[in-house]
């Protein structure tokens, strides 16, 4: 950007979203920044969810008055990056005395590089893990998941943990209402692309034909097909995951929190909520594998809008937020795995007094995480595939149809998308 006049406004606006408790963490961050940099002012613009955030961001950019900074997942920033709405940070990063690129996990940094420019700096570098209810495992005498376990182990464990009210193992696959008798399900997992992808990768397959310039989904390859088949069989063949009705009635996170779900595939974000659980003990385990250890990246980053009128001030806040102090504050909420390597390895994140005891699982996974393609039409692709996968899991659509639909319905979206 052009050099700012000396009296550029010190006040900047930061657009974030989250549930009230999460927003509270950002407020803490902002007030800490206020103390660290007297005179600087940060106005927090709070959206309640991703849709709200994107609506706000796009209308305000179009209306000519965008926020200076916003926080966004790498899966969604592509559309803004492609449209040239985000300021490159390379110059500022090079000059910075507070942060350096090396401070951050490269996997997270890489996700936010667009056409050889660092557009955003990651706030976190989370990944998928298996949350499990230790108390329940002990009660039923089933072995807890441990590093190196496989997809088959997952199925076995989940089957062993799917119980009825009297504690007997049942299959939640019987027709009409029979499944209602399941009191505890073995596993909870959302039928979405970002849950399926790591298993495809682990099985040696690819979800798209070209990671950098994808043109189609490749579930027709044997490895991907097998991983997908195993995934969608969780419900109708094994009956270890709740029915769609049950999920609508009570989502997996609260089912887990209420002690009726043995394992849950989730990212770091549910940790904050789960820390309020008092009735049982829980922990995390790494993802099961098909052989290769591969995880999937979950990462949000701060981006400066190109239309910002206070880019320098925004940068100063950004430096603070992804720097050690800011990262420690956010890590304290438990919500994120810090992207700042140093902070991630510190007790701010690994605090043994706070569950999960096994937080190291998240850090170990980072080395093997992979991002989904950052294509500008990815949000649309996720929406389209979500519906198809949902029907595949709960309704048992034929695998060939599922694979065909995934391909056919997303091809135009890939074609329209812009890639880094």
């Amino acid at each position: 950007g052009a050099p700012e006049p000396a009296d550029a406004p010190a006040s900047i606006r930061l657009l974030v979203f989250g549930a009230p408790e999460e927003l509270e963490a950002f407020r803490t961050l902002v007030s800490a920044y206020g103390k660290a940099a007297p005179g600087a002012e940060v106005q927090l613009i709070e959206a309640s969810d991703r849709e709200d955030l994107i609506t706000r961001l796009s209308t305000s950019i179009a209306g000519g008055s965008p926020p200076d900074l916003f926080l966004m997942n790498y899966r969604f920033y592509g559309q803004f990056a492609a449209k040239n709405a985000i300021e490159s940070l390379d110059g500022r990063l090079a000059k910075s005395t507070v942060v350096k690129s090396e401070d951050f996990y490269p996997q997270a940094m890489g996700a936010f590089r667009w056409r050889d420019q660092q557009l955003c700096l990651p706030q976190n570098a989370s990944s998928l893990a298996v949350y499990y209810n230790r108390t329940l495992f002990k009660k039923f005498g089933v072995a807890e998941p441990k590093p190196g376990w496989t997809w088959n182990d997952l199925i076995t464990t989940a089957t062993a943990m799917t119980r009825n009210a009297s504690g007997a193992i049942v299959r939640g696959t019987e027709a009409e209402g029979g499944s209602a008798r399941v009191a505890v399900y073995g596993l909870g997992v959302e039928p979405v692309m970002i849950r399926v992808a790591p298993f495809v990768w682990s099985n040696g397959g690819q979800i798209v034909d070209n990671d950098r310039k994808p043109t189609r989904f490749t579930f027709d390859s044997p490895a991907a097909r097998e991983a997908l088949r195993n995934f969608v069989e969780l419900r109708l063949a094994y009956g270890v995951v709740p029915t769609d009705e049950e999920v609508e009635a009570e989502d997996d996170a609260s089912r887990f929190a209420n002690g009726r779900l043995a394992m849950l595939l989730e990212s770091r974000r549910v940790t904050t909520t789960f820390r309020t659980i008092k009735d049982f003990e829980w922990d995390v385990a790494p993802l099961p594998t098909y052989g290769q250890r591969v995880g999937i990246l979950h990462s949000d980053a701060y981006c400066i809008t190109r239309g910002s009128k206070a880019k320098d001030a925004a940068w100063r806040f950004l430096e603070f937020a992804v720097g050690p102090e800011g990262q420690r504050i956010i890590a304290g909420t438990g919500r994120t795995v810090p992207s700042n390597i140093e902070v991630a390895k510190s007790s701010a994140f690994l605090d043994p007094a706070q569950p999960p005891r096994n937080a190291q699982v998240f850090l170990d996974a980072i080395a093997t995480v992979k991002p989904v393609p950052t294509i500008s039409t990815w949000p649309e692709i996720e929406d389209v595939t979500g519906g198809i996968l949902e029907n595949a899991l709960y309704r048992g659509d034929k695998l060939d149809d599922v694979i065909r639909q995934l391909d056919e319905q997303t091809r135009p979206l890939f074609a329209r998308g812009e890639t880094p």
Binding site: R13, L15, G18, A19, P20, E21, L23, Q43, L44, I45, E46, A47, S48, D49, D52, T55, R56, T59, S60, A62, G63, G64, S65, P67, A249, E250, D251, A253, S254, A257, N258, R260, T273, T276
Partner: protein, 265 residues
């Protein structure tokens, strides 16, 4: 008439339960799993949802904002609608037809189609991040339906009354104020109540035009509560109850006036 009362009871029996469930739900203790069977009264009962909702959602501040917006927007709205509706009865028929068609056309424009250009407009006027954009629809009578409702109401008054006013050399404005308005009080009560509700529950406008958390209105605050995890549903429902109480009160008060009619000579 007895059957009317029976009907009234039936109406209450159908329309009230959703709201009762809302209240019942809000009284559950946050963090508990959902109850296995129907519960009219939650067990245990707790007002914790309310305290949490007020804290987490910043409902006090949002409430004040909502009140400020409504306090300006509702009277202005009613005024705009009533003035326009009256003018339509007096202006030449062709002009009236144009405005009526234009109003119907305006009704058709979906809110989403107006967000972005309006944003640009408000920014040009320097009004973003103030409460002004939330009050602005009042200039439009909140909904173009209301001037039309007023128009029909004023048109139904006996023409002789307007003639009597013309004889007394009353200007249109005074005729409107002294004669027309008092005679359509039920309509005014109804429209005031409806604009209040529309203004109060306006969600898209604040979402787009207001950044400052201190300027959030209740629906926006409520929206952030809606992202709480499901076991905290009572918190959200408590927020919904608190947000719903004022419009309910307005409706109950206003409906008393719907009935009041002057029988004309």
């Amino acid at each position: 008439m007895r059957w009317r009362s029976v009907g009234a009871v039936a109406v209450v029996a159908v329309f009230l339960p959703p709201l009762l469930m809302l209240v019942a739900g809000s009284l559950r203790r946050p963090g508990l799993p959902p109850p296995p069977g129907p519960q009219l009264l939650p067990d245990p009962m707790s007002a914790e949802g309310y305290t949490q909702a007020v804290d987490l959602g910043g409902l006090v501040r949002a409430g004040v904002n909502s009140v400020v917006v409504a306090a300006v927007a509702v009277p202005v709205s009613v005024l705009v609608a009533a003035l326009a509706g009256f003018a339509l009865t007096q202006l030449p028929r062709r002009l009236t037809a144009v405005v009526v068609v234009a109003s119907l056309g305006a009704l058709m424009a979906p809110a989403t189609a107006l967000l972005v250009p309006r944003f640009a407009l408000f920014r040009t006027l320097g009004l973003t991040d103030t409460l002004a954009p939330l009050v602005a629809p009042a200039l439009l009578a909140t909904s173009p339906l209301y001037p039309l409702v007023y128009y029909l109401a004023f048109r139904a008054l006996p023409a002789d009354l307007y003639d009597a006013c013309r004889l007394e050399d009353l200007s249109p404005l005074r005729t409107w104020w002294r004669v027309a308005m008092p005679l359509v009080r039920p309509v005014t009560a109804a429209i005031a109540a409806l604009t209040f509700v529309l203004t109060w529950s306006n969600f898209l406008d604040p979402l787009v035009y207001v950044y400052d958390r201190d300027l959030f209105t209740l629906p926006l605050a409520l929206r952030s509560l809606a992202t709480l995890d499901p076991t905290n549903f009572p918190v959200f429902l408590a927020g919904a109850v608190l947000t719903t109480v004022p419009p309910l009160a307005v409706f109950v008060v206003a409906q008393r006036r719907f009935l009041h009619q002057y029988r004309e000579s």
